[in-house]
Amino acid sequence: MLYSLAGIALFCIALRAVILATAPLRAILAVNVMSSGVFLVLVALARRTPGLVADPVPHAMVITGIVVAVSATAMAIVLTQRLRANVSAPTVEDTPGAGP
């Protein structure tokens, strides 16, 4: 129970960071921390089953979730890089002396 509450706390702290984030990288990192919180809750709840063995279904979901989170993070980072390259690429308007 302590672990699932900690997972919820992690989720909420990162949620606030997502809301307030201005830099894309910060938002990406915060979403990653959010997903870690969700995984912590899932693993903690899997332990509630009676007996020694934990419920394997949430564990399988967490493994799936980690891999998907990694791929989504990579895609978001490449998207950010592309955005930055497009925004910072010099255009005709930016060239000094080209304006009227």
Binding site: M1, S4, L5, I8, A9, F11, C12, I13, L15, R16, I19, L20, V41, L45, A46, R48, T49, P50, G51, V53, A54, D55, P56, V57, H59, A60, I63, T64, I66, V67, V68, V70, S71, A72, A74, M75, I77, V78, L79, Q81, R82, R84, A85, S88, A89, P90
Partner: protein, 238 residues
């Protein structure tokens, strides 16, 4: 907008978000604390069905047998994310300049060890914690380490061999699923007699694909970083 006004707005946003998040926390914690004392998990159901699945490790049985459809779609998601990255990435991958003696020698010692560990995890996945995702992750990490230590992806492997490795896992899953359907069963419902072999083959194919996909994602991010340092070279490239 003047500066003091903006400051007030920012403080308001911080206060409001803190309040909202505190409410979310309270709600989630209340839901967590009011869960029934006697959980209705699926652990007993999994344990009862385990003997016919071809895997002694319940997590592997869930991943590749009970919820094989999930894993199939997950590898498809990985592949889709990589395709999206391929359409967006830019710049050229060049070998790391001067990685340093420590990293270079450490990588040459660690890479073979990581290969062995990945192979062990893949094999152990049938009966103990481990499996395709863990093995693929370690293989990809070994590749990342080698790239950071200065060795690049071999040029002659970057054409169709790379693409075959990328789609190996997904195509193996689809082939097995279709073959099972042609045999008169439901999609991805393995016959109990050959389930262990099927799971092993699927795990090997999935490990290769996951490792190569994750490594290629990392290399794509690295390309973008390399292209930012000299913007003149990257601007005109598609």
């Amino acid at each position: 907008m003047t500066n003091p006004e903006r400051d007030t707005l920012a403080r308001l946003a911080r206060f409001g978000s803190t309040l909202a998040v505190a409410l979310v926390f309270a709600g989630l914690a209340f839901a967590m604390l009011s869960l029934p004392a006697e959980p209705t998990g699926l652990a007993a159901a999994v344990r009862a069905e385990l003997p016919g699945t071809g895997a002694a490790n319940p997590v592997t049985a869930v991943l590749l047998n009970f919820r094989g459809y999930d894993t199939l779609l997950e590898i498809a998601v990985l592949l889709l994310a990589l395709l999206a990255i391929w359409t967006m990435r830019r710049g050229q991958l060049r070998p790391q300049r001067d990685p340093g003696d420590v990293l270079e020698s450490l990588a040459s010692i660690q890479a073979p060890v990581m290969l062995v560990v990945a192979g062990y995890l893949l094999w152990a996945g049938g009966s103990a914690p481990g499996g395709a995702f863990q093995a693929g992750g370690i293989l990809a990490a070994a590749g990342v380490m080698l790239v950071l230590a200065g060795s690049g992806w071999p040029q002659r492997l970057s054409g169709w061999p790379l693409r075959v490795a990328l789609v190996l896992g997904l195509s193996a899953f689809i082939c097995v699923g279709v073959a099972v359907v042609l045999g008169g069963q439901e999609f991805l419902a393995y016959p109990a007699s050959g389930a262990a072999t099927i799971i092993l083959v699927l795990e090997i194919c999935a490990t290769v694909s996951i490792a190569v996909i994750l490594l290629d994602m990392f290399l794509s991010v690295l390309r973008g970083r390399a292209s930012r340092t000299d913007t003149t070279a990257s601007i005109d490239q598609p």
